[in-house]
């Protein structure tokens, strides 16, 4: 177990280093950091001094090491566009994005697994076929069109829910939350559905096909032959076995929600990190882009680690070190 964790941790660090290399290359080679920092009227000497101060005359590996060192200490540079530390800008907006991604993940997970199980168990039902057709359209729909469609229906026509922003938020000092006010909760509904819908259809199709697979296995047949109730067979035995292989994929899918939030945040003018990232791409704000990249990578790597651990906990075969052919 410990060896497994350490190996995964090592892999995670390796991925983070590669991403850091990309993000450092952005800094180093896209645009000239000196002219951005010292301004147009600086003399050649000023520039040279700056270059030395920043260590830009050092060999590449040394510079990279220094960069990684700064990152570890939480120094991510100053935004070209706003002139404030990038990390502050991101931390201010992170709660909005994380709350959105969290709600979307819950939505995608609950309905994805629910519909997946339903369509697997009631394959012949008309409602199952309707859900499957709907999911095919869902995969083809660009996220922003879903958002626009929902805004048109629920905000413009029905006027039930707000079409943009987070509503009223509560400042907890280290975190701003929209969960404590009615307008905050109402504002969450449409963006969360928009963000989660695509992942929901993917999870649903995954769960359905895996469940159909499990329902054909001998141990399910044997469970039925022992006279266990349908409930026990379906939800006690089949569901648990279904969920294990899909945990990994679901974890990755849900992790990508943070990145997909860029689109949703733009549609709903949601004051999150993705919105900030789009602005930074438009204005080529390299420190912000690089930091966002690191942040998303960290998020993915963490989720992958958690998923691996989870895997270990739910599947007893892994604990005893039995090598499994299918993994």
């Amino acid at each position: 177990m410990l060896a497994f964790v350490l190996r995964r941790l090592f892999q995670a660090i390796l991925v983070m280093l590669v991403v850091a290399l990309v993000s450092f290359s952005l800094f180093r080679f896209v645009g000239d950091p000196i002219s951005v920092m010292v301004g147009q009227e600086a003399t050649q000497e000023d520039r040279e001094r700056m270059r030395q101060e920043l260590g830009l005359d050092q060999p590449f590996p040394v510079q990279f090491a220094a960069y990684v060192g700064r990152i570890v200490q939480g120094e991510f540079g100053i935004s070209y566009r706003v002139g404030r530390p990038v990390i502050d800008l991101i931390l201010e907006r992170l709660p909005a994005t994380l709350e959105l991604a969290f709600c979307a993940a819950i939505f995608a997970l609950v309905f994805g697994v629910g519909f997946g199980v339903f369509t697997a168990l009631r394959r012949a039902r008309f409602s199952s076929k309707a859900i499957m057709t709907f999911s095919l359209i869902g995969v083809s729909l660009p996220t922003f069109l879903i958002g626009i469609g929902l805004i048109y229906l629920f905000s413009v026509e029905l006027k039930w829910l707000p079409s943009f922003g987070r509503g009223q938020v509560t400042d907890l000092g280290f975190w701003t939350t929209g969960f404590l006010t009615l307008s905050g909760l109402k504002s969450m509904v449409l963006p969360a559905i928009t963000l989660g819908l695509f992942q929901m259809t993917l999870i649903m199709r995954l769960v359905r096909s895996e469940m159909l697979e499990v329902l054909r296995t001998d141990y399910i047949k044997f469970a039925r032959a022992r006279g266990l109730s349908d409930r026990a067979v379906h939800f006690g035995h089949a569901l648990k076995n279904t969920l294990i292989p899909v945990i990994t994929i679901m974890g990755i899918k849900l992790g990508s929600l943070v990145a997909f939030a860029i689109i949703t945040e733009t549609v709903f003018q949601w004051p999150g990190v993705g919105f900030l990232f789009i602005a930074s791409v438009q204005s080529v704000d390299i420190p912000l882009m690089a930091t966002y990249l690191l942040l998303v990578a960290l998020f993915f790597v963490t989720i992958n680690l958690i998923v691996d651990m989870l895997y270990f906990i739910v599947d007893p075969r892994l604990k005893s070190g039995v090598a499994l052919a299918r993994h």
Partner: protein, 335 residues
């Protein structure tokens, strides 16, 4: 078949069909047999003969679109095919237990053996968690698993194949059913443990007076275990009778071939022993007797009419050949 209503299980003209694009396939075709309490019936035949489907049909576990098209299955006189699913479920495990072929895949890998036992016991018997646990320990001991108390908390993958099949047997017997259907219970196991598993099954069923339908293609197992044997070919029972009679003096040409008689210098017998060709696919079952294209004795009647099941001695056989010919055949086989 002369058994009366004291029979535990009575199957009459059972037909199992699969509707497919190319028409309806008959996988089990009008089979009849009965079973007395505590009796062990062997069901033999090549793979694809319909043995396993018969087993799953009896406990109502046919996979759709497969279905029982006609016939009756009676358990102590009560018709059980066509019962509502919930009623049928209460019979499964409680009155009819089932053991499948592959112990490696029969147990849910994610649950401890004890959990699966206790779950089964409590589904059928009004026992408390603690009582069910005690019963689970007893069951594991009965099937010969050492340190049963401790092994309760092991996962299936922590057992060897033979031990797992013992667990499967314990699960099948958990609620003391009157009948156990064992579908090739030793096929997937090492030869060295096959005999042990059969011995366990035999001992427990004798102790508890449980009847057994033993589905297998292994005549050796049948000879050692069964009281009576039914031979299936292309979905039909071609011969049924006391095990000694069927083995020593098989009456149906197919059975004779199956018993692997001593090679005979005469051409006819030679062909018979090898059984040329293979069992027909369900889509191409010949007219008349299903065995006629491979039978060395087939005549025109065999090719047009389906032979009726006739009582011969203590058993019965589905063949047109008269008793004199059959006796001659069996004499030849014994020589």
């Amino acid at each position: 078949m002369t058994e009366t209503s004291e029979a535990l299980l009575e199957v009459r003209d059972l037909v199992v069909e699969f509707p497919t694009r190319r028409g309806i396939l008959r996988a089990v075709d009008q089979i009849s047999f009965s079973l007395m309490p505590g009796e062990v019936l062997g069901l033999v035949g090549e793979s694809g003969a319909g043995k396993s489907l018969t087993g799953t049909a009896l406990i109502g576990l046919l996979e759709p679109p497969g279905r029982i098209a006609s016939g009756t299955v009676r358990l102590k006189g009560q018709q059980i095919n066509g019962l509502p699913p919930e009623e049928l479920r209460k019979i499964r495990g409680r009155r009819i237990g089932m053991v499948f072929q592959d112990p490696l895949t029969s147990l849910n890998p994610l649950y401890r053996v004890g959990e699966q036992l206790i779950e089964t016991i409590r589904t059928h018997l009004p026992l408390s968690e603690a009582e069910a646990r005690q019963r689970a320990v007893d069951l594991l001991m009965e099937v010969g698993i050492p340190a049963a108390e401790r092994r309760l908390d092991s996962y299936p993958h922590e057992f060897s194949g033979g031990m797992r099949q013992r667990v499967v047997i314990a699960l099948a017997l958990a609620a003391e059913p009157e009948l156990v259907i064992a579908d090739e219970p030793t096929t997937a196991l090492d030869v060295s443990v096959q005999a042990q598993i059969i011995a366990v099954l035999k001992r427990l069923c004798r102790e508890k007076n449980t009847a057994v339908i033993l589905i297998t293609h292994d005549m050796g197992v049948i000879a050692e275990t069964a009281d009576r044997v039914a031979v299936m070919y292309a979905g039909r029972i071609v011969e049924i009778g006391p095990v000694r009679d069927v083995i020593k003096s098989p009456r149906h040409p197919y059975t004779k071939g199956l018993m692997g008689s001593i090679p005979d210098p005469e051409a006819e017998a030679e062909r018979l022993i090898q059984i040329p060709g293979s069992m027909p696919r369900l889509t191409h079952i010949p007219k008349g007797c299903a065995f006629n294209p491979r039978c060395g004795f087939a005549n025109d009647q065999c090719r047009t009419e389906r032979p009726p099941v006739r009582a011969v001695g203590k058993g019965s056989v589905a063949c047109f050949l008269d008793e004199a010919q059959l006796t001659a055949l069996s004499l030849e086989a014994r020589r």
